[in-house]
């Protein structure tokens, strides 16, 4: 295990913040209430939220203490934007695909979804692109129409 104090600090802080948000806003407003029950509906989600606050807090404090010992700053300036963009584009690609799928069924759109990503990932052989794009879609068609009988999805 490699100790990574800066990412531990920020991730711990984020986890504790989500826990706090759950404790202060989500559970009081959306967990419901039952004054006659021995166990209120917010008890179990509350336990989960407390776990996040306490454990996230411990992770953040440990990270902060280690950063102080190592004389590290809270943020680092040497961000690799190329690596960040490479990590982000598949998320953007799938998000756009999901937006498309609110208009077109995945069975009609799936071949283009696969082919587009294959090309972006560097595949140039047309027969490979065609085969990889068509076969999974055909399998989905058989599964949804003939085996599950739910029609085209």
């Amino acid at each position: 295990m490699i100790f990574v104090p800066r990412s531990d600090f920020w991730s711990g802080l984020a986890v504790a913040s989500v826990g706090l948000l759950a404790l202060l806003w989500m559970i009081p407003n959306y967990a419901g209430s039952n004054p006659f029950a021995r166990m209120p509906p917010g008890l179990v989600p509350g336990i989960g939220a407390w776990l996040m606050v306490i454990c996230g807090g411990v992770v953040a404090i440990k990270g902060l203490l280690q950063m102080m010992r190592d004389s590290l700053g809270l943020v680092s300036a040497d961000l690799n934007w190329g690596a960040l963009a490479w990590a982000a584009w598949p998320f953007a690609y799938v998000a756009v695909a999901i937006w498309f799928m609110s208009f077109i069924k995945i069975t009609w759109f799936g071949a283009f979804l696969i082919a587009g990503m294959l090309i972006l990932l560097g595949e140039r052989r047309w027969y490979m692109i065609l085969g990889c794009a068509v076969v999974p879609v055909a399998l989905l068609y058989v599964l949804s129409v003939y085996l599950m009988r739910v029609g085209i999805v």
Binding site: R38, M39, I47, Q66, P90, M101, L113, L121, P136
Partner: protein
């Protein structure tokens, strides 16, 4: 034992539908296992929607067959590529790859296959003989005991499945919150649904499983393509001397038996998983050997030790699942979800309510092992070819099946958005080393934990002293406290040691 039920179960396992379902599962698992980067949990999460049209027995046997197939298949890429399909096969690569490079790839693959199948069958037999008495005892447990056992399992998994207990428990906390989303079964009112009627039935399991396990893994794999591309597989040539012989089998047999024992023990404990089992078995074999220097250079005993333990973990992990309804790892947690989709409550009640289904699953597991042997033996050449499939071809296809699986569930665009959210969550959890295993297990067991906790509070009328009359519950509460203290201590000790290591961001 009810022999009529066992007879019916055996008959069901030997039907054509059963052969096709289980054989299909093992074949698919083998193919997935061979492809580096596709893990067992990814395969199961994507395959769950495929089981919607199957009968419960075929569906569960298909998924268990898939699970077994991935474990055996991952050895192929470990041996031929030095790139294990699963982390648990990394120990196999230590001796498998050098052996393949020495011109004996087929021998290495056959040793791995035989060790896998033997470990798997023996552990399945142990499961059958242990899970049923275990479940009979568990039927006597009340809500106090079940709540205490579930809390203990959660803490244990949080501590052992990742690095830091704090990160594990934080992930478990999120799983608990998300596990309570939906209609509250006491008040009948929506809880944490934020007005979305789609969430009345709870957070969709398929979205949580596929998002955190499969889709997020594909994003991580595509990120890795920036740094590493292309694979060099060892070619299998036709060599009559390259095959397993009787002396080799005789020499690896004790290793297989030891590996099976280690794998069964590790698998039965919640949270440890196959990687721990295979490395522990490998380490024990090296220590027990008269020639420890030969390991890492192509010793068949190294392959046998790792593979037998890796495959023994899978049936053994079902001991707490069938005995208590507690998932010990991600695959078992996904199986609980698959059972729920087919309207079955897994755990000791399964033995009481549907013993024929339980015995059928056991029979199906034995059948899966036999099919695995046949497929592995005769399909070695075919599976060796699959190792040449580059990862950039696999990623888009898996992403397509992730999205298609969600659409098959019928949640539409809302489900896809939830899926994307969980993919992002899974990606961040993996990047920052938060245990997604604990998250998923907590998410799945929370309804059961809440029900038992609620029943305990109602029955005891809030009087904690009643626990003094429940020694088993008290024992597990004490175990939870001890485990928590020990795991916190271990985390601080590990962090102290790691603080001296070079800092990396």
């Amino acid at each position: 034992m009810d022999f009529a039920v066992i007879g019916t179960a055996a008959a069901e396992a030997l039907t054509l539908a059963s052969f096709i379902g289980i054989g299909g599962g093992v074949l698919l698992g083998y193919i997935v296992g061979v492809i580096p980067g596709l893990s067992r949990s990814v395969a199961i999460s994507i395959a769950i929607p495929m089981t919607f049209y199957m009968s419960p027995y075929i569906a569960i046997s298909f998924l268990i067959g898939l699970s077994k197939g991935t474990a055996a298949g991952s050895a192929v890429s470990a041996i031929l590529l030095n790139a294990p399909g699963e982390a648990s096969s990394a120990a196999t690569a230590l001796d498998g790859y050098p052996m393949a490079k020495q011109g004996k790839p087929k021998t290495a693959l056959q040793v791995g296959l035989i060790a896998s199948v033997m470990g798997d069958i023996l552990a399945t037999i142990i499961l059958i003989f242990v899970a049923i008495p275990f479940a009979r005892v568990a039927l006597l447990f009340g809500p106090y005991e079940m709540a205490a056992i579930l809390a203990f399992a959660l803490v244990f998994i949080a501590g052992l499945s990742g690095g830091s207990i704090f990160k594990g428990l934080a992930a478990g906390g999120l799983g608990i919150i998300l596990g309570t989303v939906g209609l509250d079964n006491q008040t009948g009112l929506p809880r944490l649904t934020f007005g979305y009627t789609e969430l009345m039935d709870g957070m969709p399991l398929i979205a949580v499983a596929i998002g955190t396990l499969a889709l997020s893994e594909m994003f991580i794999q595509s990120e890795k393509l920036r740094y590493e591309r292309g694979t060099m597989s060892v070619a299998m040539k036709k060599d009559p001397n390259d095959r397993i012989t009787w002396p080799i089998f005789k020499s690896i047999l004790p290793t297989i038996l030891r590996g099976t024992g280690v794998g069964t023990f590790v698998g039965a404990l919640p949270g440890l998983g196959p990687s721990v089992g295979s490395f522990m078995s490998y380490g024990m074999t090296v220590k027990a050997s008269k020639d420890p220097d030969s390991f890492g250079k192509g010793n068949p005993k190294g392959i046998a030790a790792a593979e037998s333990a890796d495959n023994a973990v899978i049936p053994a992990a079902l001991i707490p699942l069938f005995g208590l309804g507690i998932p010990g790892n991600v695959s078992a947690a996904l199986l609980i979800g698959a059972f729920a989709i087919h309207g079955i409550t897994v755990g000791p009640l399964l033995l009481r309510d549907s013993p024929e289904l339980l015995y059928s699953i056991f029979a199906g597991m034995i059948l899966a092992s036999v099919i695995m042997l046949a497929l592995g033996w005769f399909g070695l050449q075919f599976f060796a070819q699959i190792t040449r499939v580059p990862p950039h071809v696999v990623i888009p296809i898996v992403i397509f099946f992730c999205l298609a699986g969600m659409m098959l569930q019928g949640y539409g665009t809302f489900g896809l958005i939830i899926l994307m959210g969980f993919a992002l969550l899974g990606y961040l959890m993996k990047k920052f080393d938060y245990s997604f295993v604990t998250f998923l297990v907590a998410f799945i067991i929370t309804p059961m934990l809440e029900l038992n906790l609620r029943q305990s509070i109602i029955l005891s009328r809030g009087n904690w002293a009643i626990l003094l009359d429940r020694p088993i519950a008290l024992f597990f509460i004490a175990c939870t406290a001890v485990a928590l203290i020990a795991l916190i201590y271990r985390t601080f000790q590990t962090d102290k040691a790691a603080a001296g290591a070079p800092v990396s961001e």
